[in-house]
């Protein structure tokens, strides 16, 4: 039977203008991979309907260990939270192959 291990799932929702820089931050923090999708939503910076270039948002999910999650969250909040549409949260999840998610 495969053992189960706890890892962090960091979910970042942000305006698409941040996409490239969030991915750079992710690499700096040492994350080994990510999954991204286009999303729609609304919040403190208005409705982001996703219909044209200026109103699009992405959701980026990262599975990683706790140290990477902390570095990633710190860097994103420090650099981008003041001026950009950005929401992020961290959850505990269970994975079967922990070495895949550093």
């Amino acid at each position: 039977m495969t053992g189960l291990h706890v890892r962090k799932l960091v979910t970042v929702v942000c305006e698409t203008s941040l996409e490239r820089r969030v991915l750079e931050t992710l690499r700096e923090a040492g994350a080994s991979g990510y999954t991204m999708s286009d999303v729609r939503g609304g919040g403190a910076r208005g409705e982001r309907g996703g219909d044209w270039e200026g109103g699009r948002s992405v959701e980026i999910k990262v599975l990683c260990d706790e140290g990477t999650a902390q570095r990633l969250v710190d860097a994103l909040i420090d650099r981008y939270s003041a001026d950009y549409a950005l929401a992020l949260w961290v959850a505990d999840v269970t994975v079967a192959r922990p070495s895949k998610f550093t």
């Binding site: 305006e15 203008s17 941040l18 820089r21 286009d38 910076r45 208005g46 409705e47 309907g49 996703g50 219909d51 044209w52 270039e53 200026g54 109103g55 699009r56 420090d78 650099r79 981008y80 003041a82 001026d83 950009y84």
Partner: protein, 318 residues
């Protein structure tokens, strides 16, 4: 004669204001914008192969000069008359310094429906005019702050690079080159798609722009009366300046009208993206709401016919 392009824009605005569930899917919007850019480039390129103006380099320089002058003028107005802070003034100036390809396309169809020809090099000037306004805007925003607080901001280099390899420049210039290489004969097989269907595609795109513009009307209240007046008065003034540059460039009646249209237009794709990267502290809702809620509709409904009349006077063929 009412233009179908205008009607579809209005339909989009009404649909949004009435809270219709109408929504143009994102992939269709993307496909239409690619189609319009390629079609504009090809159209210019096909004619380019037959008649290349010897004065093209001088004309291109004048176009770039116009692209630098307009944002400086807008910035001065916003700072001194509007008392806006430096970041917001610079960001809005970048929007008004850069250009809107769709406004250009609307101007082109307006002219062609009246049988007024224009220079095939016009799409080249569109591509050239998109970039300087963005760079001037970023520089204006920078002048007021130290070098230390740049962690989250992107410099001029990446902005220039992004603008030059951006979708609109790549497709416009690519289409121009392809059209010039292929010539009218080589383009014949794709003409039904890129030529005959152009106006219909533009109508659908305008429907979506109407939906977006309608959604910006609420945000206009936040922008306030000064910015709303700015967005309404700048197009005719900048249009007149653009017509002057068109005359300096030695363009025809149609060419002058299109230069005026370009000068009067404000970017709503390249500029917001560049400003979010380089001047993130500027409020994007301010510029977008006036560009799409006021300036774009004004140009479409009243501006383009006005610029055509201006051009007719200047070209002496009224």
């Amino acid at each position: 004669m009412i233009d179908p392009v205008v009607l579809f824009f209005l339909l989009g605005v009404f649909a949004r204001v009435l809270r219709s569930d109408l929504r143009v899917p994102e992939p269709l919007y993307d496909a239409l914008s690619i189609y319009l850019l390629v079609a504009l480039g090809l159209k210019g390129g096909a004619e380019l192969s037959s008649a290349l103006a010897p004065s093209l380099a001088g004309q291109a320089l004048l176009a770039v000069a116009m692209g630098c002058v307009l944002p400086l003028l807008a910035f001065a107005l916003l700072r001194h008359l509007g008392r806006l802070d430096r970041s917001n003034a610079a960001a809005i100036a970048a929007h008004y310094g850069s250009v809107s390809v769709v406004t250009f396309a609307a101007g082109l169809t307006y002219l062609s429906s009246r049988g007024i020809a224009s220079e095939p090099t016009m799409p080249l000037f569109v591509a050239l005019l998109e970039v300087p306004g963005l760079l001037v805007g970023v520089m204006l925003a920078r002048m007021g702050r130290g070098r230390s607080d740049g962690a989250a901001r992107v410099g001029l280099g990446p902005i220039l690079r992004d603008a030059l390899v951006g979708k609109s420049v790549v497709l416009l210039i690519g289409g121009l080159l392809a059209g010039a290489l292929l010539g009218p004969d080589g383009l014949a097989p794709v003409k039904p798609f890129f030529g005959d269907l152009f106006k219909g595609a533009l109508c659908l795109f305008m429907l979506e722009l109407g939906l977006i513009a309608g959604g910006q009307l609420g945000a206009l209240r936040q922008a306030g009366p000064f910015l709303a007046a700015f967005a309404l008065l700048v197009p005719p003034v900048f249009g007149a300046i653009g017509a002057g540059f068109g005359w300096l460039m030695g363009l025809s009646h149609g060419g002058i009208a299109l230069m005026a249209t370009l000068a009067a237009s404000a970017s709503y794709i390249a500029a917001p993206a560049a400003m979010r990267m380089s001047v993130p502290e500027a409020n994007p809702a301010l510029s977008i709401s006036i560009v799409l809620g006021v300036t774009f509709p004004f140009n479409l409904l009243a501006g383009i016919p006005l610029y055509e009349r201006m051009a007719a006077r200047i070209a002496g063929s009224a």
